[in-house]
């Protein structure tokens, strides 16, 4: 079973730009940055919208649901602090944006394209809570 990593892995150092993202994660919320003017979603914290050059961008709460866009299963860890196997993944969120995360809560061989996923949060240190994604178990599939 793919598990979240224990404390002790390398963790992010939030910047002034990204602080709202990590504060939301600590509250158990996934947020993304969207242009107030044209709706374009930024793939990382930004001051200016890359589509319309608008300077009014707002953090918006995501429903935290999406589909598995691509993934890998790692057996040779990046650093000895990571426990293998783990499954870095690109999730395509329902609001129409992509994020880097990792899938937990299923076996590696159960991973498949367009698998429905939902966000869950696990602490990586006293300060940092990481968003992970787990299979979405909905009424139809139970």
């Amino acid at each position: 079973m793919l598990q979240p990593q224990a404390r002790g892995i390398p963790v992010p150092t939030p910047s002034a730009m990204s602080a709202p993202y990590w504060e939301a994660s600590r509250r158990g919320e996934l947020v993304y940055l969207r242009c107030d003017d044209c709706g374009t979603i930024a793939l990382r914290p930004a001051r200016v919208c890359g589509s319309c050059l608008g300077r009014s961008l707002s953090w918006v709460t995501s429903a935290g649901r999406g589909r598995l866009y691509s993934w890998t299963v790692v057996w040779r860890p990046q650093h000895p602090s990571f426990v293998v196997p783990y499954a870095p993944a690109i999730v395509e969120l329902d609001e129409g944006w992509w994020m880097m995360s990792a899938v937990v809560g299923c076996d590696p061989e159960d991973l498949h394209a367009d698998m429905a996923l939902t966000v869950e949060f696990h602490a990586a240190s006293d300060e940092i809570v990481l968003p992970y994604f787990a299979p979405l178990v909905d009424a139809e599939s139970v």
Partner: protein, 386 residues
């Protein structure tokens, strides 16, 4: 007039390449790469008026080249293109390019330091280069049915080119079949250990000169026919999404390099069918399949069948990465292995490769980078002056 009508590559050199070069550090192996290229070119030090490479300033001092243009950059093909531009614009007559790595990676409980991204959006998920590139490869497999056996065919082909090459770090390690690749331990699915580049140490250098100066040098000049580079953003900071697009084009990030290749072919007045040998950058087996499609050697989704049919082997329609590349020849860290694609292409054009020489080759395409890093550089070189 072709923009590089007056630009000739007149000297190339690889130092000894090895898993470790005990007596060297980064600066010393850069110097050896530079000295070897200068000797191969046969130009006196007093004629070098520009140096490009990570240790450009140190080389200016060590070889008493001043006053001299210095561009202390760590890239691959873009350094060669800059050298060509310096000559084409009249700012320099003889340009030295050097690179190398030693003593960068000796603590092997973790993957190589330059492959570990530290950006805050990815650092917590244990990514490294193989995992980033695997995310692109997986997407291609889902879209086109590309198979692990096709990936393994690429790795076996390139590793066998290194197996027979006495100058390769992994000389004599084969021969490999695709099954051998698939039997090696899994690193980041779909990449087995033998689908991935190695790490090693070594240096290299090139010398470019104005055509009139090239005329009486020992080697026949090799000509720059075209080339450029392109990126979709910083490597290893956001998810490597195949379908990510910029505002300028409908080409997805998965085919980064397509636009650069089209530009390069236009400059050269050539097309993919004119290329006799492709010195493609091979950080991971899948990247060859992707590049064959991106550069127009086959249509989208046909890269897997193309390699399966044997077209990239030494006797194939398009021999690829003929010295063994980063999988078997050498991969000294940051950028020497990128310049080594150009060095090998020059050796192919000279007809001097001891192994893997493509007989009668007139045009070579070289590449650097890869989809997982969101950039690709392309360079075309040839025997005929453009």
């Amino acid at each position: 007039m072709h923009p590089f009508h007056d630009v000739a590559i007149v000297g190339v050199h690889n130092t000894a390449q090895a898993r470790r070069l005990e007596s060297h550090d980064n600066e010393s192996i850069n110097l050896e790469g530079a000295l070897g290229a200068i000797a191969d070119a046969g130009v006196p030090l007093s004629e070098i008026d520009a140096v490009i490479g990570e240790f450009a300033q140190e080389l200016v001092l060590a070889l008493r080249l001043g006053p001299c243009i210095r561009l202390p950059w760590r890239l691959g093909i873009p350094l060669v293109l800059e050298a060509a531009d310096l000559i084409a614009s009249g700012r320099a007559n003889v340009v030295l390019v050097a690179a190398g790595g030693a003593a960068l990676y000796r603590e092997r409980s973790a993957v190589a330091p330059w492959t570990r991204p530290s950006h805050e959006l990815v650092v917590g998920y244990g990514l490294f280069t193989a995992a980033e590139f695997a995310l692109m490869a997986r997407r291609h497999m889902l879209m086109h049915g590309t198979t692990p056996e096709q990936l393994a065919t690429v790795a076996a082909t390139i590793r066998n080119n290194g197996h027979v090459n006495p100058e390769a770090v992994y000389h004599g390690r084969g021969p490999f079949t695709p099954a051998d690749i698939l039997d090696s331990r899994m690193v980041a699915d779909p990449f087995h250990l033998l689908d991935c580049a190695m790490t090693s140490e070594g240096g290299c250098g090139l010398v470019l000169a104005r055509a009139d100066r090239a005329r009486d040098l020992p080697h026949d000049p090799v000509w720059v026919l075209g080339g450029t580079s392109e990126s979709y953003g910083p490597a290893y900071q956001v998810a490597p999404v195949w379908d990510m697009r910029g505002g300028r084009s409908d080409v997805p990030a998965g085919y980064v390099g397509r636009t650069a290749a089209q530009h390069s072919f236009r400059t050269a007045g050539l097309g993919p069918a004119d290329v006799d040998v492709a010195e493609l950058y091979d950080p991971f087996s899948f990247e060859i399949i992707r590049q064959l499609e991106a550069f127009g050697f086959c249509s989208d989704g046909e890269g897997g069948p193309f390699v399966e049919e044997g077209h990239i082997g030494p006797e194939g329609r398009l021999p690829v990465t003929t010295d063994g590349g980063t999988m078997a020849f050498s991969h000294p860290g940051i950028n020497a292995q990128q310049l080594q694609r150009v060095i090998r292409a020059v050796q192919q054009m000279r007809g001097e490769c001891a192994t893997g020489q493509v007989e009668g080759a007139e045009v070579a395409l070289c590449s650097n980078g890869g989809s997982g890093a969101l950039f690709t550089d392309v360079l075309l070189v040839g025997r005929e002056r453009p």
